[in-house]
């Protein structure tokens, strides 16, 4: 059956493959996984180390490695999504595609679907391989690996959706830079929120919540962290009192359901805006 959204999604995936994006990412990721797994395998071999200490170190290092992968995914999603519409318009490819009997919404959503598939595939493949490497090296496995990977993929999809919206109006470079700046601002906003909560400062808390609602990437990252933390590690962290303030690699509570609903609504809203913007765009 001929469904234009799927045609465009397939085209987006094929383009990533033909432009050797998938190959480059795969090779680099495998190298990183091999190196980090080797590093993890050194933990149990350290002098006078107890199994509990290996577990603690492995859990914290796993969160750091997850942060690296989520960063790669977020930045990669932005770099790929920012030129996806703007690049086609600038080059002229869109001039040949859009007069065909295909709606602009179908073109945009096809691109989103293709990119979302690539992001989920990368998050799942790289995450599962890395966690397998860590488990083989140390015997440590985080409590909820699948949910963690879903949060990491969701973070990439959120940023990709934002870059796609910007791509309907702004040149690739400008859209990409804006999306990245907002990503890092949200990260700092998350740290501010953690500090505000420890010191009970309402103003800082509100700024942090505002940034987390505006750009939900950091909120989703904290959802990923929480599902990587074993209960005993979490207990130790909570016992640290004010010393834990502002640690960007610590999540004390799971994400509220209302916030997850907000993230879904946020993506739908951004896509609605992107469709409206693209429909009204003169080419």
């Amino acid at each position: 059956m001929n469904i234009p959204i799927l045609t465009i999604a397939r085209l987006t995936i094929l383009e990533a493959s033909r432009r050797r994006l998938l190959l480059a990412l795969s090779v680099l990721t495998l190298v990183v996984i091999a190196l980090t797994s080797w590093g993890f395998s050194r933990l149990p071999l350290m002098k006078n180390v107890t199994p509990a200490e290996v577990r603690l170190a492995a859990s914290q290092l796993t969160i750091l490695v997850a942060f690296m992968f989520s960063g790669v995914l977020a930045l990669g999603s932005t770099l790929v999504a920012a030129p996806t519409v703007a690049g086609d318009i600038e080059s002229g490819v869109a001039l040949a595609i859009l007069p065909r009997p295909v709606r602009r919404t179908e073109v945009l959503m096809g691109k989103w679907l293709g990119l979302a598939f690539l992001i989920t595939l990368y998050a799942a493949a790289s995450g599962l391989l890395e966690l397998l490497g860590i488990w083989l090296a140390t015997g440590y496995a985080p409590p909820n690996p699948i949910i963690t990977l879903l949060f990491v993929a969701a973070e990439g999809i959120v940023l990709m959706s934002l870059a796609l919206l910007l791509s309907t109006r702004l040149p690739p470079m400008t859209g990409g830079v804006i999306a990245l700046v907002l990503f890092f601002v949200a990260w700092i906003g998350g740290i501010a929120l953690a500090i505000g909560q420890v010191f009970n400062n309402d103003t800082i808390i509100n700024i942090g919540i505002g940034s987390r609602l505006l750009i939900p990437t950091d909120g989703l990252w904290h959802g990923a962290i929480f599902n990587l933390e074993p209960a005993d590690v979490l207990r130790l962290a909570r016992a640290a009192g004010r010393a834990r303030a502002g640690n960007p690699f610590l999540a004390e509570d799971p994400l509220p359901t209302a916030y997850l609903a907000w993230c879904v609504a946020w993506v739908i809203g951004v896509l609605g805006l992107a469709n409206w913007s693209f429909l009204k765009r003169d080419l």
């Binding site: 002229g92 859009l98 009997p101 295909v102």
Partner: protein, 322 residues
């Protein structure tokens, strides 16, 4: 309860009925980009099965008009119909072929893959794709490059590919925006032949071109557009006013009696050369006799065929003078 229709609704119904029998019909179609007027009140009709030339200087609004007709840009005012449906209609776009002025196709794809993608987007039956793709590649002279990546193509080859893309599925209307801008003389000749073939099989062609000689050779009717509106439209004969002109080289004429020559048509005085416009061929001997009677020494008498370029420049000059 049905409300009584207003006059404007009646008018629109009549226009829509007329538009259905035409390949393109626009009524006061306008486009503004901020304060810049790209197209101001374009009214024109293109019949089915005709080759229609759309001429104008740079910035006249030609490409804007094509973009409005294909739905790439939204009109600021006015109305337009393509193949009987309002412009932008999704179903009608299945019967539309378009070669953009800025032609670019996915460089990472093979030529045959680009055509295959457009077959898919045009919702052509999958069973007919191979025939369509092979036919298009053959027609535009790229049959031996079907498996090559587009990024390795020259500009001319990409334009040929674009023409192949525009002709997929035997469209009823083909819009070609400067289709030979990147082609060599052989390529231009090929495109002219393709356009003639399209006309022969009943396809309407809307040709946006700077190459006036090309337009003159293949177009049934033309419109000249300037500053976003049509300043002349008609068949080639109507536009060129082919009622004859004669160029005469003559010396020794009494300048005070030159006004007497006005009875032989409008005179363009270029010193020794005089051009008499609107003069029937049978009156040429009479003109020569009159010149000799006035003391003139006639060295040459040349029938003059006005070219589209002459007429085009004249029309623009007249427009500037208004």
């Amino acid at each position: 309860m049905q409300l009584p229709s207003t006059d404007s609704q009646k008018l629109n119904a009549v226009e829509a009925a007329d538009a259905a029998s035409l390949a393109i019909h626009t009524q006061d179609l306008a486009k503004r980009y901020g304060k810049t007027v790209a197209l101001s009140g374009l009214t024109m009709s293109v019949r089915r099965s005709e080759v229609f030339g759309f001429l104008g200087p740079n910035g006249a609004g030609k490409t804007t008009a094509v973009k409005l007709l294909t739905g790439l840009a939204l009109p600021s005012a006015g109305q337009g119909w393509v193949l009987g449906a309002p412009i932008g209609d999704l179903q009608t776009r299945r019967r539309l072929g378009y070669l953009p002025e800025l032609f670019r196709y996915q460089g990472w794809m093979q030529a045959s893959e680009v055509l295959s993608l457009h077959c898919e987007l045009s919702r052509l039956p999958r069973s007919g794709w191979k025939t369509e793709i092979d036919g298009a590649l053959e027609l535009v002279g790229l049959a031996d490059r079907a498996g090559d990546r587009v990024e390795g193509f020259s500009k001319g080859m990409q334009q040929r590919l674009g023409l192949g893309v525009a002709l997929l599925g035997r469209p009823d209307l083909v819009l070609l925006d400067e289709p030979t801008s990147a082609l060599d003389p052989v390529g231009r000749h090929d495109v002219r032949e393709i356009i003639r073939e399209l006309k022969a099989r009943g396809t309407a062609v809307f040709l946006n071109s700077h190459l006036l000689s090309e337009v003159e050779q293949i177009c049934d009717r033309i419109a000249v557009v300037d500053h976003g509106r049509v300043i002349a439209t008609g068949t080639m004969d109507e536009i060129l006013g082919r009622d004859g002109a004669v160029r005469v080289r003559v010396t020794g004429l009494d300048s005070s009696r030159r006004t007497e020559l006005a009875s032989y048509g409008r005179v363009d005085d270029e010193g020794e050369w005089l051009t008499f416009r609107g003069l029937r061929p049978e009156r040429v001997p009479e003109l020569v006799k009159a010149l000799v009677t006035q003391g003139g020494r006639v060295y040459a008498v040349e029938p003059r065929q006005e070219t589209l370029e002459d007429r085009f420049l004249q029309l623009l000059k007249e427009e500037e003078g208004r």
